[in-house]
Symmetry: C2
Subunit: 209 residues, 2 copies
DNA sequence: TAGATTGTTAATCGATTAACAATC
DNA sequence: TAGATTGTTAATCGATTAACAATC
């Protein structure tokens, strides 16, 4: 595939913006308006679409319904995506109950933790022992995992997940995990995101003094 | 400033990797090893450093202690960064108690919510009424906010924050907020991050079939 | 038809990487 | 000294943007 991560993220943003346009009653949209909505350029919108063979009508723009359907299909949103979560601590528990995932067709079908006190197989999203994890993943054909364990446990947990057949991991542990051919890693480091913001706020403040 | 966001994120990663090297007992390090640790190239490490006037010793590499100190200074980590959080729901509450922030010198000094049931001024991190927010921010000179309100409230909450003097916002609401000259926005959309992962996992799966 | 928007090619821009002289 | 690594310049690479012919 020729497409890069930023491009796919833009597809998600287009999709979200289009849903809002649709609820406002719009039927069709021009690349210019969609660009405005996501903070890009119309050329980029058309370029992104053309990379995926999405075409509109010259002079008529794009049909919103068809466009959303096409984007959903590309982004794998035609079926509910089953994921598991490992590490039911503060952040992990919040993610288990995070409504937006459900709205977006992402279903956390089980969570796993090493702490016996956290186990609760009867919860709406069952919290299970970590030694049941591999079997559960295999049995349910899960390919995506959310990792929210302490950083000291991150690498070994990742190894377990990969061995069980997980192909993609969203990692919240504050340590950079590296992807392999077997498994893609998407690192989300919240402290780094804040540090970044702090840096640019400080730079801007100094620049204007 | 000439530096881009990715470059600053790399500085954070270098810093984190160096702290690990230091705990392992290393005193100095070559660009090559640091690059390996963060998954980059040695040329990029040296380039990034030279952009910030960081220099090492030809043939001797970089002194880890001095390097960490310099990076901490650039990233504003010499003093505790005070931030406020708005929206003490599932995710917001988890972030309030998220240890990694504390470890990284980021202190959430107060949270705000519109729901009276959530108010708790006596908590370790006080949860206050949202109508006290502007005064609190002004009084404490806070410049950074974490936004974890529902998407329907995101834009109006942002407006309040900017009016109160906030200069940078880490936004978790699943709607793309746009920065202005007054205030920088860093959008973290967890569903989009997962969608992205799902896309690449699916593409890889199809490619190997 | 005249006018406006798409789809795509070519130009630009910026970031990453390679290469190598300087030098410890 | 000989060898290895930095610091920086130049080359490469890829992504974004501009431009415009096609056409509805």
């Amino acid at each position: 595939m020729i497409n890069n991560k930023n491009c796919i993220i833009r597809l998600s943003r287009y999709k979200n913006a289009l849903v809002r346009f649709k609820t406002l009653g719009f039927i069709k949209i021009f690349s210019e308006y969609l660009a405005d909505a996501v903070g890009g350029t119309s050329a980029q919108v058309r370029k992104d679409f053309s990379l995926f063979g999405i075409s509109g009508n010259k002079r008529g723009g794009y049909q919103i319904d068809a466009l959303i359907a096409k984007l959903n299909s590309i982004l794998g949103k035609n079926e509910v995506q089953k994921v598991v979560l490992v590490g039911a601590g503060q952040l992990g528990s919040a993610l288990v109950r995070y409504n937006t995932f459900e709205k977006e067709g992402i279903k956390i079908i089980a969570a796993f933790d090493i702490d016996p006190a956290k186990i609760n197989p009867k919860a709406p999203t069952p919290i299970l022992q970590i030694d049941e994890m591999a079997r559960f993943i295999l049995k349910n054909g899960v390919r995506i995992a959310i990792l929210s364990v302490p950083d000291s446990a991150a690498q070994q947990t990742l190894d377990m997940l990969v061995k069980a057949g997980i192909k993609g991991v969203l990692n919240f542990a504050p340590i950079e995990l590296k992807g392999t051919n077997d498994c893609i890693i998407n690192n989300v480091n919240l402290a780094v995101e804040l540090e970044n913001l702090i840096y640019f706020v400080n730079v801007t403040a100094k620049a204007t003094v």
